[in-house]
């Protein structure tokens, strides 16, 4: 291409881009929902304690996570917020996990103490799963140091079973984690991401000016392998990290998402690494994984660069069953949106989809796909916030606190950032980290929980204004794991279909509710619902009414849940 062609193409491209942009703007649909900040009204009084005292220790900038879980089994989503703590020798306050029980009236009660979670630890992330299949969700808290596994007694309390389960004496800088039945034996196994080999006593001095200490980048530390613990089904776990093929000491992992890249019913794992290539572990159906990140195109950016991967999520965006992967990255690296292009092949389509440019100046952490406006298309939510509280002095267009992204799916492969449209409170700048969604008020739409670093957690209630409805499913496995994690639910309506994978983890340090939500617009019925259980069983239900939540018990059919 000569210069004239290039200039002509550029001018044409700019002109066409301008026209298309204007046209897209003109045709953009009005957002049919709002996020209302109900944190105070709901009674959430949580503030994250990073322990920062001036020592500029690496973990201070990264925490922490949150989860929606129904810990008491009443069908109402409760909230668990992970907290850090003051560093040894710099004790100022006592800060613990916080468990908020849903009062079923839009408010929550602090049940931390009564639940036995009034524990100080330097927590990072959370993964919720009923690993002992007793019908009550258990909780893993990832920590800087020793991770903690809490078994739900079913009586509103948790018991620390870290030691008895065999997870003790494993100290690391753990981050995101998820429960996955990777061998489909009916028991949830545990995958834990570890960031770098870090300990307060070995902290590295990093500085911009050679005098004042500053937070180090991960290059200053050695990587740490992720862990995979196999659930023995007897209350104990076996470390199968080495034998399963996920062992990799070069990884600096922050986010993990479960997905099924080849629709073989066997869960695969995508791991977002910071300054290292992302990893895609393909389940070889024999208890082992094969890492195919580079070959699949998921490891790097389009220009072959290993980015600072933070959070990740995967979902079927086009009804094909093939998951799209979203990865949040550092500012100036853009959110990665990897669309499937072939068998186990992906391409970063963020720029084309309208997500790349919009996320160029934000540093993303938590991210999740959710149909926020219940129009039948999955949207993408991203929690943003920089790690450097002085970044504004260095880069004028990047702030420490940053507004979240709400990329609303336009239905044509592109997205439009509609955060501002979703509400002034929602679009405020936050130093966002964790992000989870769940229907805490059981009105059928997905509310949002956002944690901030060294700041409060915020609960945003989703208010639909267009009258769209959803259909929700809570899966209960019998032969499969009790939570049905790894099951695929597919609904068919009007010649199109949507699918959801029941999953733990995803986002960043956080976990969304386990029930799956489908937006169906203003439909009254869905034609068919097909559930593929991890056990291999397939069930089909027909003529289910929309605007309701259903409980699907493996092998026993579906029942509408009480409103």
């Amino acid at each position: 291409m000569n210069r004239r062609d290039f200039l002509a193409g550029l001018c044409g491209g700019l002109a066409a881009g301008s026209v298309l942009s204007n046209r897209a703007g003109a045709q953009a649909r009005r957002l049919g929902m709002r996020y209302v900040d109900v944190t105070d009204k709901a009674g959430l009084a949580f503030s994250h304690n990073s322990g920062a005292y001036g020592g500029k220790l690496l973990p201070e900038t990264l925490g922490s996570g949150c989860a929606f879980l129904d810990y008491d089994g009443d069908g109402w989503q409760d909230i668990l917020l992970v907290n850090g703590m003051d560093w040894p020798g710099h004790k100022r306050i006592r800060s613990t996990l916080r468990l908020y029980r849903n009062n079923r009236d839009g408010t929550f009660s602090d049940a931390t103490k009564s639940a036995g979670l009034d524990i100080e630890l330097y927590g990072m992330g959370v993964a919720v799963g009923d690993w002992n299949n007793d019908g009550f969700p258990d909780v893993l808290i990832t920590c800087v140091g020793q991770n903690r596994l809490f078994r739900n007694t079913g009586k509103g309390t948790f018991v620390d079973v870290t030691k008895s389960s065999g997870l003790a004496r494993r100290r690391a800088f753990s981050t995101s984690a998820l429960w996955v039945d990777f061998d489909r034996d009916g028991f949830l196994d545990l995958f834990v991401c570890n960031y770098v080999k870090w300990a307060a006593e070995h902290d590295v001095f990093c500085s911009r000016d050679g005098k004042e200490k500053f937070y180090c980048t991960p290059e200053a530390y050695r990587g740490e392998t992720c862990w995979l613990f196999h659930n023995n089904g007897n209350g104990t776990f076996t470390d199968v990290t080495a034998t399963s093929g996920v062992f990799d000491t070069s990884s600096k992992s922050l986010g993990v998402a479960m997905l099924d890249i080849d629709q073989d019913g066997w869960p695969d794992l995508f791991v977002a690494n910071d300054t290292q290539p992302n990893k895609l572990y393909r389940n070889q159906q024999d208890g082992t994984f094969k890492e195919i990140g580079v070959g699949s195109g998921l490891a790097f950016s389009t220009d072959g660069k290993a980015r600072a991967g933070m959070g990740a999520d995967a979902a079927d965006l086009d009804g094909s069953g093939r998951p799209t992967v979203a990865v949040t990255n550092f500012d100036n690296e853009m959110v990665g949106l990897y669309r499937p292009t072939g068998p186990r092949l992906y391409e970063d389509a963020a720029m084309r989809a309208g997500i790349g440019a919009a996320s160029r100046t934000t540093l993303g952490f938590g991210c999740l796909f959710a149909d926020v406006d219940l129009d039948g298309s999955l949207d993408l939510l991203v929690a943003n916030g920089h790690i450097d509280d002085t970044v504004r002095n260095i880069r004028g267009n990047v702030g420490h606190a940053q507004p979240p992204h709400l990329f609303v799916n336009q239905g044509n492969g592109t997205f439009r950032d509609s955060a501002a449209e979703a509400g002034r409170e929602f679009a405020q700048p936050w130093v966002g980290r964790g992000l989870a969604c769940g229907d805490f008020d059981r009105d059928g739409d997905l509310d949002l929980l956002l944690t901030t670093n060294n700041g409060p957690a915020r609960l945003f209630r989703n208010d639909q204004i267009d009258g769209n409805r959803s259909i929700r499913f809570r899966l209960v496995g019998t032969r499969s794991n009790r939570d049905g994690i790894g099951a695929t639910v597919r609904i068919f309506h009007g010649g199109s279909s949507q699918s959801r994978l029941v999953k733990s983890g995803s986002s960043y340090l956080s976990q969304s509710e386990l029930p799956v939500t489908f937006g169906v617009g203003r439909r009254d019925l869905v034609d068919r619902v097909v559930v593929n259980w991890p056990s291999g069983r397939t069930e089909e239900y027909k003529g289910l009414a929309c605007g309701k939540a259903y409980e699907c018990v493996e092998g026993r059919g579906v029942t509408a849940m009480a409103p």
Binding site: T241, F247, V294
Partner: protein, 510 residues
């Protein structure tokens, strides 16, 4: 003017005079005499000079063509040269720079893999991991796969300077490394982890370091090759830049020389055109002067000679008739002869006045115009309204004859072409100029038409001859308005006149 009319030009001062008839040119030097047989005097020199000048004038086309050819040749030569240089540059960039870049990328990939190997081996030697050495096998296998792929791609794009020995050494070294690695893992699988770690420390790390050093050396070589290529590319750029300067200089010089030549040629052409125009003007004015002189001569001859003869004949016939008996046939014949002579005499006098109004010399321009206008109705059928204004001033005959001729030509045009039988004549004496307007409301004329008659040309020449101006326009009512404006300086006014007071405007209709 008839094509048979003779054109005579009088040069200023003592310049020779030339004349020619249509279809033939004859050159007669005034100093050698006047050829009365041809009916005019001649001055050959001007035309001779013009013709000679025309014959000598060289066309600039040849020079321009030469300049164009030189310029085109320079462009073609430069384009050829540029194409060659760009081809060379392309070849350099494709064959050397691009290949070198791709090779370096693969070497960097290999180096990165080797670094990952080093880090993995470091971790394997550390005892802080609770995993057996075999845990690293998958991680190392991934590195191995990537390393093999990088090596294969590197071999495809390896620069030409890479020796077979170097290629062989790299491949062999890596093969030996992986063989040692396999042995190490075999030991680890056998539970001999200490021996395996010793293998890492003693063998694998050293091999990795050696391979890494070699890859680093290859990268340095590539870097040097890149620098060499960059120098060659820069040399080509410099050469092209010099060539561009040379080309621009040559082109500008050619353009400058051509422009100078064109300017020079144009100046010559314009000078010759100016001379030709002046010559033409002189010829035209001389023609007019000659025509007037000829007409005056003929008029005088008619009036003085033939008129006298006819007058004498009339007198003599009258005297003879009176001597014959009244009523005799002979007397009747003589009386008839006398009447014929008288009629002829009147006609001769009229013709004489038409050819050259003697009234101009005798009574001046105003009287001549009065007389002429009184004859127009009778001669042409056109009724003329005449208006005179301003203080009349005596006009020199040499000027007045031209004013008269313009009036005569204009009214003749009205009679012949306008298709109307009415015209208006206005004579205005301004302090320093004389204005004559002849207006009709007929068909009008197109003075810009290339087929316009010689009459208009003649009127213009007369105006120009007197330093005045003549304009042809269309009145609002249609038709033609001829406006002649002449400066009235001392030369145009008779010396013994000028005592006129400003009379009231005179109007009369013919």
């Amino acid at each position: 003017m008839s094509p048979e009319a003779a054109f005579t030009s009088t040069a200023r001062g003592d310049r020779p005079r030339v004349s020619f008839r249509t279809g033939e040119a004859q050159y007669i030097d005034e100093r050698k005499g006047v050829d009365h047989r041809r009916g005019c005097s001649h001055d050959a020199t001007i035309l001779e000079v013009v013709i000679r000048r025309s014959g000598r004038r060289s066309s600039p086309t040849t020079g321009l063509l030469i300049g164009l050819v030189i310029t085109l040749a320079a462009v073609v030569a430069d384009a050829w040269y540029m194409t060659r240089q760009i081809s060379g540059l392309q070849a350099l960039q494709t064959d050397l720079a691009e290949r070198n870049r791709q090779d370096s990328l693969q070497l960097l990939r290999i180096q990165n893999d080797l670094n990952l190997l080093a880090l993995a081996m470091r971790d394997m030697l550390d005892s802080d991991e609770p995993y057996p050495l075999t845990a690293w096998s998958a991680q190392l296998e991934r590195i191995r796969v990537d390393l093999d792929d990088a090596l294969r791609r590197e071999a495809e794009v390896a620069v030409a300077s890479r020796t077979p020995e170097q290629r062989q050494y790299l491949g062999d070294s890596l093969a030996q490394f992986w063989s040692a690695m396999d042995r190490m893992f075999a030991l680890a699988r056998d539970g001999r982890e200490d021996e395996a770690r010793a293998q890492i420390r003693l063998s694998l790390q050293a091999r990795q370091a050696g391979i890494s050093t070699m890859v680093a050396r290859l990268l340095v070589e590539n870097n040097e090759a890149e620098e060499d290529t960059a120098r060659r590319v820069q040399a080509i750029y410099d050469q092209v830049q010099r060539q561009v300067y040379r080309f621009v200089t040559a082109t500008l010089t050619t353009i400058l020389l051509t422009s100078l030549y064109v300017i020079h040629s144009n100046r010559k052409i314009f000078a010759e055109l100016a001379t030709l125009s002046e010559d033409r003007r002189e010829l035209a004015q001389q023609l007019i002067a000659t025509r007037e002189a000829t007409l005056r001569e003929i008029s005088r001859e008619l009036h003085d000679e033939l008129g006298q003869v006819l007058t004498a004949i009339g007198s003599m016939v009258g005297r003879a008739g009176r001597q014959l008996p009244v009523g005799s046939p002979l007397q009747a014949d003589l009386l008839e002869i006398r009447e014929i002579a008288q009629v002829t005499l009147d006609k001769v006098r009229g013709l004489s006045q038409t050819l050259h109004p003697s009234a101009l010399e005798e009574a001046g321009l105003e009287a001549t115009i009065d007389w002429y206008l009184s004859t127009v109705k009778r001669q042409t059928g056109v009724a003329v309204s005449y208006e005179r204004s301003g203080a009349p001033r005596p006009v020199d005959t040499a000027v007045g004859i031209h004013v008269y001729r313009v009036l005569q030509e204009s009214l003749s045009n009205v009679a012949r072409h306008a298709g109307v039988d009415r015209a208006w004549v206005r004579l205005r004496f301004a302090p320093a100029r004389l204005e004559l307007e002849i207006e009709d409301h007929g068909k009008g004329i197109d003075v810009e038409s290339p087929r316009r008659g010689l009459g208009i040309v003649g009127m213009r020449e007369r105006a120009s001859l007197l330093g005045g101006a003549i304009a042809f326009s269309r009145p609002d009512e249609g038709g033609t308005l001829v406006r002649l404006t002449l400066p009235l300086d001392d030369g145009a006014v008779k010396d013994d006149e000028g005592q006129h007071s400003a009379p009231a405007p005179v109007k009369h209709a013919g």
